[in-house]
């Protein structure tokens, strides 16, 4: 379900975005643009570094009803803490394994490695991501 459909069906998919706040130093202001547009369908969690993510954060997001969880990291080689984005990738992969064990599709957790180059605000980045056709359905947790 892309951004337009999400906007129309605000209550359908719940999206959670964990992201490195180094990607947008004005993220506090900028993410509210999408929060205003999509309401409670989207939740942002800024991190001082994507390497601060723990598998437990991702699991709790799914447990709380997220249909899709994104983890947006800095470009490869550009992490200000050197390896944070690499650790983030490994932890997300670990959590994907865990949710697969309980029968959830691993694509519900997705890592987005930012590309170097033009600066984008966080809401611009997320809008780009949400324009894709989403390939997950409503979480089976909500169907019970």
């Amino acid at each position: 379900m892309g951004l337009d459909a999400m906007t129309q069906n605000k209550n359908e998919l719940n999206i959670v975005v964990f992201f490195c706040e180094q990607l947008d130093l004005n993220q506090d202001k900028n993410r509210r643009v999408l929060e205003k547009e999509l309401g409670t369908s989207i939740k942002f969690f800024p991190l001082p570094c994507s390497g601060r993510i723990e598998p437990l954060h991702l699991m709790r997001a799914i447990e709380a009803g997220a249909d899709k969880v994104f983890l947006i990291t800095c470009p490869e080689g550009a992490c200000r803490y050197r390896e944070g984005n690499l650790r983030a990738e490994k932890r997300l992969a670990f959590t994907q394994g865990l949710i697969e064990e309980i029968g959830l599709e691993k694509k519900r957790l997705e890592l987005i490695r930012s590309k170097g180059g033009a600066e984008m605000t966080i809401h611009e980045r997320v809008k780009e991501i949400l324009k894709r056709e989403e390939n997950v359905n409503t979480s089976p947790l909500k169907l019970q």
Partner: protein, 222 residues
């Protein structure tokens, strides 16, 4: 440290299936170090079990607590007054911890969420390697603190087998040859003459065949 690994989820689910209220109890010592039973892992397992229950329309109430150490009564005592509120306790401690809980609360069902594996060291972040078999007859002084029982695939006490290749064991090429390490370290510490001694086999009667071992120290008792 004692290392352990979480049991496969299907096995854990089958164990707790009959129970509605389950308390997950972690341990902040060895199993936290090897990322299998600490506070984070308790949270992860609890979350996974709740998600699974919700997906299948099961009703289960899962609570979490982590003790500093699960094998010592003074820490287990924190559960007094709490344990009885649950149908079962799923312990993320090692085998010692699981049994210590059961000894303390004999009327409560205690289940193991982990498979206890070995005594070992943290070799690197995320890597734990066995280096002690708890034989009770430690001879590390003769072998430059490299245990040939544990780290030599053949458990040789008297010299290398001659089969190693480039310092790696012929049984498993991922494993450094223990005897190469022993000889290198004896050389480095000026004790090569120890190689001339013939060592008797380990006295396994200290470990095996007599039931559970114990240590009793009068000076430590209340």
């Amino acid at each position: 440290m004692i290392t352990a690994e979480r049991k496969p989820l299907p096995e854990i689910k089958e164990m707790i299936a009959p129970y509605r209220k389950v308390l997950l109890v972690g341990c902040g010592s060895c199993v936290a170090e090897c990322a299998s039973g600490g506070e984070k892992e308790v949270g992860l397992l609890a979350s996974a079990l709740r998600i699974d229950a919700k997906m299948h329309g099961h009703i289960i109430d899962i609570k979490e607590i982590t003790l500093d150490r699960q094998c010592v009564y003074e820490f287990i005592d924190q559960l007094t007054g709490i344990a009885g509120q649950f149908d079962a306790i799923l312990s993320l401690g090692c085998g010692a911890g699981v049994q210590a809980l059961a000894d303390t609360f004999p009327g409560i069902i205690i289940l193991p969420a982990l498979n206890t594996t070995f005594i070992g060291q943290t070799k690197d972040a995320g890597l734990w390697i066995e280096n002690c078999r708890a034989c009770g007859d430690c001879k590390l002084s003769y072998f430059a603190a490299v245990c040939p029982i544990t780290r030599c695939a053949k458990g040789l006490f008297n010299g290398p087998c001659g089969g190693s290749q480039n310092g790696k064991c012929e049984v498993d090429a991922d494993v450094p040859c223990a005897w190469q390490l022993i000889i290198e370290r004896l050389e480095k510490t000026g004790r090569l003459e120890l190689l001339q001694n013939i060592y008797q086999p380990v006295d396994w009667s200290r470990q095996l065949g007599k039931g559970p071992r114990k240590i009793h120290r009068e000076d430590q008792s209340a």
